[in-house]
Symmetry: C2
């Protein structure tokens, strides 16, 4: 058996990180170069950590082209906490329903948390069709009076991704970009609030980035606990209570890598398109041996979900892939099958290795 | 200038970790031995991570001698989130006030979060006296009808620690042990709920341990968001949404170290008592040059807060200590002065180095 390799880790997340980031992180466990102490033992009230937060924020601002009307926050609790914080902040006590799109497993998880806080209208649901496609514009009738629209740009489980921005520009648009944040330019200015946990494209599990327009924070409930109030975190520069210092430091290293080694989001998107084209090409050229789950127009550049002709072949594929050193290819427990997650840190060479394995496996059947 | 050393890091937290834990953590950044992948890229739904959580729980159970009527949870959000989760769970909608002790900076932070949820009675406050001592038993009149008593076992900022367990055994006793958890045996069975963030004695910032009796979770509000409901986390074995995998892995390594290298909590407490005795001895034998902040009976074994005769001498002390490779000795921003935090990972040798520096500094003045 070949040992699994970080470079060939197709996990849905927590997933692969760039090799250079892992090397710098390894060094920092013993000594952060500019401090001389383990990153695990530096006070969150140190000048060093304030500079880390400021640089992460500046890097994200530069990568997304954000204006001064947006705040960049680094929070705990993952996307799940955002499922609640968004409606706590913007829906509690409202009479008008918020618009939600139900396009897969994760947008479905957001719905009950929103309904706990106020009225919700599901504008479109793909549930009856098994979440195999996204809605066309002609199927989407948004309310002009909704407090906000919430949707997920990339459904990690099913492998569906919006390649356009749905919604009305006169209604606050809120997007969970957990699984494609910083994988491509995203016209950030058109969103009132974006959130993304780190563990797909930008770091380890334990920190969540929130980009929020200042105007969204003008009229929020006054009685929220401090840690659930965006304004607390704005005022404290993401240092209200002890932040996850280590996870934030790794996000810093990834944003530096994105800028200095990759060359920004256009360059990252070009690489991600090439990787996805190669892998979907392998599905499409397999005479039906590898079967993509989703409509071609809505295919995700991040998560490529597919099946083989039988569940037994799925099982054999995963076992042989593992023995070949390719890891993390099992589909999400909700739907099974195969899922190759090809986040930013997965290289074109890694996808070539996977595609080579797929050709070989198919030939042997 | 001597480079700072992880072994001489007296930071109030995030603080020092044992050298052997740092070495294993460094290895795991590239490859967890039994998996072959970076700890940052292993799925939280893997068998490996389920085993990590199970072993952390088992180790904490063994160290504390917990019975089967307690749950051990690993959550996000720090002690601050627990300041809210406790009263959300046990005080919301109640007519009877919960009893709170106000013994320092951090117990003061818990009060407004509790008052947001229900009635609070401050049984005793040391605020008027500048938090220089803890209450005697004759000053404490607890209510037999309180939903619970909340207190903090060790006030990190002021350096005050309870060396007994206050409260009535017939009222649920809830304790924030963030800064002395697993530093000594604690009669865990006498607490209905214990919480402790990791970044003092047991790991990096980003994960919080909660030990809660099952009977406390029988009649909780039904409308809490999932991530704020202890029962969600009990049912999901601390894997409701993506947990901070890395931080939990480091906690695993620390609990292994506590058992295998230190030899359990009695042995740890003996080491911690020896360290504190050495350092307080240096204060007491300095003819008033080093002035402890707190009453002798309530001195913390974890945080030793003191002042020199003038603020200028405080400043010089910190500067020269830094140049001597001793770091993290600045007092909390709320009160200034000097604070030597001597958590589990700080060795007796490190305290000897500090005491030697203190003698030398004093002699030169």
């Amino acid at each position: 058996m070949i040992a699994p390799s970080n470079a060939l880790n197709f996990s849905g997340g927590p997933g692969a990180l760039p090799e250079s980031v892992l090397r710098q992180t390894q060094q920092a466990i013993i000594s952060v170069p500019e401090v001389g102490l383990s990153v695990l033992g530096i006070s969150h009230r140190s000048d060093w950590f304030a500079a880390v937060v400021a640089e992460v924020e500046a890097n994200i601002r530069r990568l997304l082209g954000l204006g001064t009307d947006s705040h960049v926050l680094l929070l705990q609790g993952g996307a799940t906490q955002q499922f609640s914080m968004v409606p706590m902040t913007l829906l509690r006590g409202k009479a008008q329903a918020a618009d939600y799109l139900h396009t897969g497993y994760w947008s479905g998880k957001a719905l009950p948390e929103a309904r706990r806080e106020g009225p919700v209208r599901v504008v479109w649901s793909g549930e009856a069709e098994g979440f195999r496609r996204l809605p066309g514009d002609d199927e989407l009738h948004f309310s002009p009076d909704a407090p906000y629209l919430h949707y997920i740009s990339n459904e990690t489980v099913e492998g569906l991704q919006f390649h356009r921005i749905p919604g009305r520009d006169d209604v606050p648009r809120i997007c969970d970009m957990s699984s494609d944040f910083l994988s491509r330019p995203c016209e950030a200015d058109r969103f009132a609030l974006i959130y993304a946990h780190a563990q797909k494209n930008i770091g380890p599990a334990g920190v969540t980035v929130v980009v929020v327009k200042d105007q969204l924070l003008q009229d929020n409930p006054a009685d929220l606990p401090g840690f659930l109030d965006y304004r607390t975190h704005v005022a404290a520069h993401s240092n209200f209570n002890t932040p996850p210092v280590f996870a934030i430091y790794v996000v810093l290293l990834v944003t530096r890598w994105l800028q200095a080694e990759v060359g920004g989001l256009e360059a990252m998107a070009a690489i991600n398109r090439a990787k996805a084209a190669l892998l979907y090409g392998a599905l499409d050229g397999s005479d039906g041996f590898y079967r993509g789950r989703t409509a071609v127009a809505d295919r995700s550049l991040m998560n490529v979900a597919f099946n083989l002709p039988t569940p037994e072949l799925d099982r054999q594929f995963l076992e042989e892939a593992r023995l070949a050193g390719l890891s993390g290819l099992g589909g999400h427990r909700a739907i099974g099958g195969i899922r190759a997650s090809i986040y930013n840190a997965l290289t074109l060479q890694a996808v070539e290795r996977l595609v080579g394995f797929m050709a070989d496996f198919r030939q042997r059947r």
